[in-house]
Subunit: 199 residues, 2 copies
């Protein structure tokens, strides 16, 4: 049975893997995201390049000895009216992000990269979903920000938690909106890496 | 501060309330669902009537003494090609449900009823979302059914868990697909019951 490494620091991705009943280990990978953001303005290309950089760095760290090990990495951003919104660095920045997204529809884009130790194959893909927020007063946004949920999340919200109160609808993959398009992980592992998670 | 009672046995609804940071108690309510299903063939009318019956039964049980207490109830079904799919009673029934839904789009419909102790007001509403499954082999469906996740779920799946592997996309409320349209709960409590969950 092949082993899986999820090369991600995201608690949301880890939880999704756990809830899907996947047996895996995590590896915390850092790449210089700002460097990529300076060079790449196209949101889809950016998340694909970041996911690829993370998975290749993870592959290097794991080394050649661990055969039959699949490595999965991802990067998520919010795209709104041509602007790329990543993770906020402060409460004030998070407030501004949520305020700009209220009563509007934005795109949640995740880049996904999968490779295997001892295998040259590298699959890089992405998924984009539309998310529509309700209208919110400044007081409501402050109350939301004070919950701390914004911290560490692209676009400053977590759809499964308090933000469920103001997310009207999504068009697209519901797991992508949490940070990883699980159906795509399932398909790629099955077709490209001979691993069936429902096997 | 008003108190909230969630009159539901669903672990998914309870978890959503917890994750949204809502302070609440639960009350387990039983109504004779089969009686309603025999009488009502329209899916939207059915879930609305079931949610209403549950909330009114809960109101009776709580009694008049607990003022400032809001009661929320819901009922969820899957509608596919004119057929109403509720919870499966066996593995075999669950298998048949998932097999009929694979590679197709169905509607996930939740009826929602909210009232308050010492207040005649009763709001009954519903939300419908489209859910699209990937294609699945019989072996994959068997593997999914053996996880036990089908048990107690309308349509025999749980989008937040293993079923994330074969849900391609949704069009509509992402919390509704788990069993309760949280943005609608937020709006109704704010507008109709003077309670702001982001207050």
């Amino acid at each position: 049975m092949k082993k899986i490494i999820l090369a991600s620091k995201s608690i949301d991705r880890k939880e999704m893997f756990e809830r899907a009943g996947i047996s895996f280990n995590t590896l915390s990978i850092s790449v210089n995201e700002n460097e990529y953001k300076k060079k790449i303005s196209d949101p889809i290309l950016l998340v694909k390049e970041l996911a690829k950089a993370k998975v290749m760095e993870a592959k290097k760290q794991v080394g050649d000895r661990k055969k039959d090990t699949i490595i999965i990495s991802a990067d998520t951003i919010v795209e709104f009216q041509g602007q790329i919104l990543g993770k906020a660095n402060s409460k004030e920045e998070a407030f501004t992000m949520i305020k700009s997204l209220k009563n509007q529809t934005h795109n949640l884009i995740t880049g996904l990269a999968i490779t295997e130790i001892g295998n040259e194959k590298l699959i890089v893909d992405y998924e984009s979903s539309k998310v529509c927020f309700s209208d919110l007063t400044d007081e409501e946004i402050h109350s939301y920000i004070n919950s701390g949920e914004w911290n560490g999340r692209a676009g400053s919200y977590s759809i499964r938690d308090k933000a469920s109160l103001f997310i009207k609808y999504i068009h697209g993959s519901s797991s992508n909106v949490i940070g990883l398009p699980m159906h795509k992980v399932f398909e790629i592992l099955k077709v490209e890496f001979n691993l069936n998670l429902l096997g």
